[in-house]
């Protein structure tokens, strides 16, 4: 593995933009293209917004760990949280074929993540959710 960094976030929405700056720096350092960078930041935003908004039954402080690494042309981003079990790989998503009248207003976030990310893996381990997202990176 060439280089890996870990970022610890609190369960507050304002933390997402802070992470986005770290991701930008990581991307710049490794010459990751703007398009790939945008997609990963959006996917992370969607996943973290879900965790922070819905994963916790209490109002207390929780820590979410995000790890970024780059290896053999693949950018791997892992998100680990101690919220209630949630597997984004089999969560219901919006049906984008429906008419405006039929459409529900929710479910777009997970749909975006599945479309933006090349490979997704989920596991529940030691009472924690671990989501792994991978994007192909040219020339890395």
């Amino acid at each position: 593995m060439s280089e890996a960094i870990a970022v610890e976030l609190k369960n507050r929405l304002s933390e997402i933009e802070r992470l986005a700056h770290v991701v930008d720096n990581f991307g710049r350092h490794h010459q990751i293209g703007a398009h790939i960078l945008y997609n990963m930041k959006l996917a992370l935003d969607e996943i973290l917004t879900n965790i922070i908004s819905y994963a916790y039954d209490d109002a207390g402080e929780h820590h979410i760990v995000t790890r970024l690494s780059l290896e053999q042309g693949k950018w791997t981003v892992e998100v680990e949280d101690d919220g209630r079990p949630f597997n984004p790989l089999n969560a219901p998503v919006a049906d984008t074929e429906q008419s405006l009248e039929e459409r529900r207003v929710g479910g777009l976030g997970i749909h975006l993540v599945r479309k933006l990310i090349n490979e997704l893996e989920y596991r529940r381990q030691n009472d924690r959710n671990i989501l792994v997202m991978r994007l192909k990176v040219k020339g890395a």
């Binding site: 933009e17 959006l42 917004t49």
Partner: protein, 111 residues
């Protein structure tokens, strides 16, 4: 994100600047539902200065269109930046919302 408000040819134009995400989507939702409640029926949302949108923001466009259409109104979005356009494509918004290239085209569509 900042929201600016202009009246052009009698129609209300709301412009969004910056990032629309879960931290500010409620403010945008409150604003747009308020102008609809005040009786605006033809609305333009200018996205030329919006460089980022997440699903929290996307749902507000859906919500406002769902609210306006049965009331005989129309919401038109215009001037999407490329990354925002891509997100709109992924969620299938081009087939259910009115999206035009420029503010002029948006205003013309009301005549």
């Amino acid at each position: 994100m900042d929201i600016y408000e202009e009246r052009k040819d009698g129609f209300l134009v709301l412009g969004l600047e910056g990032r629309l995400d879960a931290t500010n989507s409620k403010m945008f939702e409150d604003k747009i539902l308020a102008v609809i409640d005040e009786g605006e029926r033809q609305l333009v949302i200018d996205l030329s200065q919006l460089n980022y949108v997440s699903s929290a923001g996307l749902r507000v466009f859906l919500l406002a269109s769902k609210r306006l259409n049965p009331a005989g109104g129309k919401l038109v979005l215009c001037s999407l930046q490329e990354p925002v356009k891509e997100v709109f494509e992924i969620v299938g918004f081009f087939s259910i919302l009115s999206i035009l290239g420029s503010r002029d085209e948006a205003l013309k569509s009301f005549r």
